[in-house]
């Protein structure tokens, strides 16, 4: 009896496997929650398409799609010109959703949300601002009484898109940070301690008094963490929200290059949250298997029509309308 069912199940699976289109992707961990939801919903609507995604990190995603071992990649930081030149497969960046990075801190007796200017954050990580009582922190937060304690800067020790977005922003607002540290998924931090993952940084900041760190907005929201506002390019302190992130993307959309490789940190606009970024899928321009390319293009169309609407419910910021329209045109090129 049981065996019969098992045999029938195996048979069904086998026939499914034979006819279904299996598409394999790998890459960034940051958008993994929404990607896996999209892929599973899409499979329910289209039982003949199976999209498998492994969140192995942006670096791995770029490497694998460049080598042609997966059908698509995903990354939090756009590929460099060198990486594009050396890749065996030519790929196209397709922005999917946006994320943001927020500053978190642990200060005894300070309950209100704090304000930070970009150059202050940069100098905290450069070790130039070493105490909470520094007048430059006080200047952004009138009326807050800061303790005279040393700041413990906490950073991500693992290579991550979060660090890339954060250092990209700090490099834009502080020439000193750009020269001494620079922007990358892992950098040489002049001071502080490194913890692995958002959960490591958040755990350390929660525990250690007088610490300062940065985590993804989605993580801070999901764990009800208190986080600070950051001063944007037009001089306004903005607290991160999906609206603020989409506003930053909309502001940047006017100057969006055709290959979508754009950094939207420190974007113009009064409502823009400055530490925001796109996350991208890497789609091969010329697939070895036209059927797969067609299925992928169809999925991307569905993502724009239906998927984007679900983004904010998972605290990802959806693409602004002008960018969606651009992407729709680009998808037509996927063959």
């Amino acid at each position: 009896m049981n065996l019969k069912f098992l045999a029938a199940g195996v048979l069904v699976l086998a026939t499914l496997g034979a006819t279904a289109q299996n598409i394999n992707g790998a890459g960034a961990t940051f958008p993994y929650p929404i990607y896996s939801r999209w892929f599973s919903e899409y499979s329910k609507l289209h039982p003949d398409v199976h999209i498998n995604y492994q969140s192995i990190g942006s670096g791995g995603g770029i490497r694998q799609v460049s080598e042609g071992t997966v059908d698509f990649g995903a990354t939090d930081s756009p590929m460099t010109d060198d990486a594009i030149k050396n890749a065996k497969t030519t790929t196209m960046h397709i922005p999917t959703v946006l994320g943001a990075v927020v500053p978190v801190y642990n200060l005894k007796g300070v309950t209100q949300d704090l304000n930070f200017s970009g150059d202050v954050i940069a100098d905290i990580y450069l070790g130039k601002i070493s105490k909470w009582s520094d007048p430059r922190i006080a200047k952004d937060n009138p009326g807050v009484k800061f303790p005279d304690n040393a700041i413990l800067p906490v950073y991500r020790s693992d290579g991550s898109g979060t660090s890339f977005i954060f250092t990209d922003y700090l490099s834009k607002v502080s020439a000193d940070f750009r020269n001494k540290v620079g922007a990358a998924a892992s950098v040489k931090w002049p001071t502080g301690i490194g913890q692995k993952g958002n959960e490591g940084v958040a755990g350390m900041v929660r525990q250690a008094p007088n610490s300062f760190g940065y985590v993804e907005l989605i993580y801070a929201r999901g764990n009800n963490m208190q986080f600070g506002s950051v001063k944007n390019a037009s001089g306004k302190f903005v607290k991160a929200s999906t609206d603020g992130v989409t506003a930053a993307a909309a502001a940047a959309a006017k100057t969006m290059p055709a290959d979508y490789r754009v950094s939207i940190t420190n974007a113009p606009g009064a409502e823009s949250y400055p530490i925001s970024s796109f996350t991208w899928l890497l789609i091969p321009l010329k697939s070895t298997d036209p059927a797969k390319a067609k299925a992928l293009a169809e999925f991307l169309g569905w993502m724009l029509d239906k998927g984007e609407a679900e983004a904010s419910s998972m605290t990802y910021a959806p693409l602004p309308k002008p960018v969606q329209d651009m992407v729709r045109k680009s998808i037509a090129q996927v063959k």
């Binding site: 192995i56 990190g57 942006s58 670096g59 791995g60 770029i62 490497r63 590929m79 460099t80 060198d82 990486a83 050396n86 040393a150 413990l152 020790s157 693992d158 290579g159 991550s160 898109g161 540290v181 620079g182 922007a183 990358a184 998924a185 892992s186 950098v187 040489k188 931090w189 001071t191 502080g192 301690i193 490194g194 913890q195 692995k196 490591g200 755990g203 350390m204 525990q207 250690a208 610490s211």
Partner: protein, 351 residues
Amino acid sequence: MTTEREPGSSMPLPSLAPTEFVGSSEPTVVSTEPSPIREFLSKRGSGRLADTSFAVVMLVCALSIFAIVLFIFFILISRSKLSLIAFGWKFFMRSAWDPVSGDFGALPFIVGTLETSFLALLMAVPLALGVAVFLTELCPRSLRAPISFLTELLAAIPSVVYGLWAVFVLVPIMREHLGPFFAKTLGWTGLFGGANFGVGLLTASIILAIMILPVISSLTRDIMTAVPNSQREGVLALGATRWEMIRTGVLRNSRIGIVGAIMLGLGRALGETMAVTMVIGNHAEIAKSLFAPGYTLASVIANEFSEATDNLYLSALIEIGLALFLVTIVVNAIARLMVWAVTRGAPARVA
């Protein structure tokens, strides 16, 4: 385990002893039938081919170890070619680690790995020897099983669980109690200066010590149990105290095995990744203070490998793996040399 002898049962006479193994019910019956073993041996024909092929198969098994080591070494070298060419052997002596500008060196990681591992040994070895001596020589029988069970349980806990425990329990204790205590009492050494955030080299060493303690102590206990009782009785009969008996009769006889156990513990400490990454602070700098954050070879690979895109960066990370491989080999070689130097032609005389 020695079985207790009942007072009434005397030792069997020597001449009778062999028959005991044949069967206790009919000890004197000598059968003319060939034994099953002899029957098997005479039936199976010539054994020469079997013997040769057996030897060859065993040789292949033994050689596979060489092959695996060589293969790993070869892959590490070939994959780290870019970085080997760019920095040469100086890579192991440079302290730069800057993925943005593509400047790499392994020194802070090598120092961090050796520092935490040896500190861990310093803490774990005396404790482990104490546990083993107590278990084999002094422990009341009723306590022996639970303590042995607990040490073996400690060895079976996955390292990520140790890491979590360290983050939530050990780090706050270090920050609020142990750290200030060390700074106050041992501050004059200069090893406990600077800010103490609870994470750093010392915390990593303590968690490593806790992790290698059960490995060393349970192996040492097994080795000490293997020391024949006649050794203990002999030393005691010469009028030694209990401590002298343990020192000359037990510890001296098992010292090679103990060094082997320590080496296994050191091996685990050198390669431990997860728990160390969670509490060491991951900062690639050589610091004097034990409170300062550090970095180990295994940690930097685990942290940075997944997001390394640049070819030179990847190659440098693989060369870090090569460095870990070489460090392990060199440390083990030194340990072997030490064992050889200590035991060379030395009979069991009083140390």
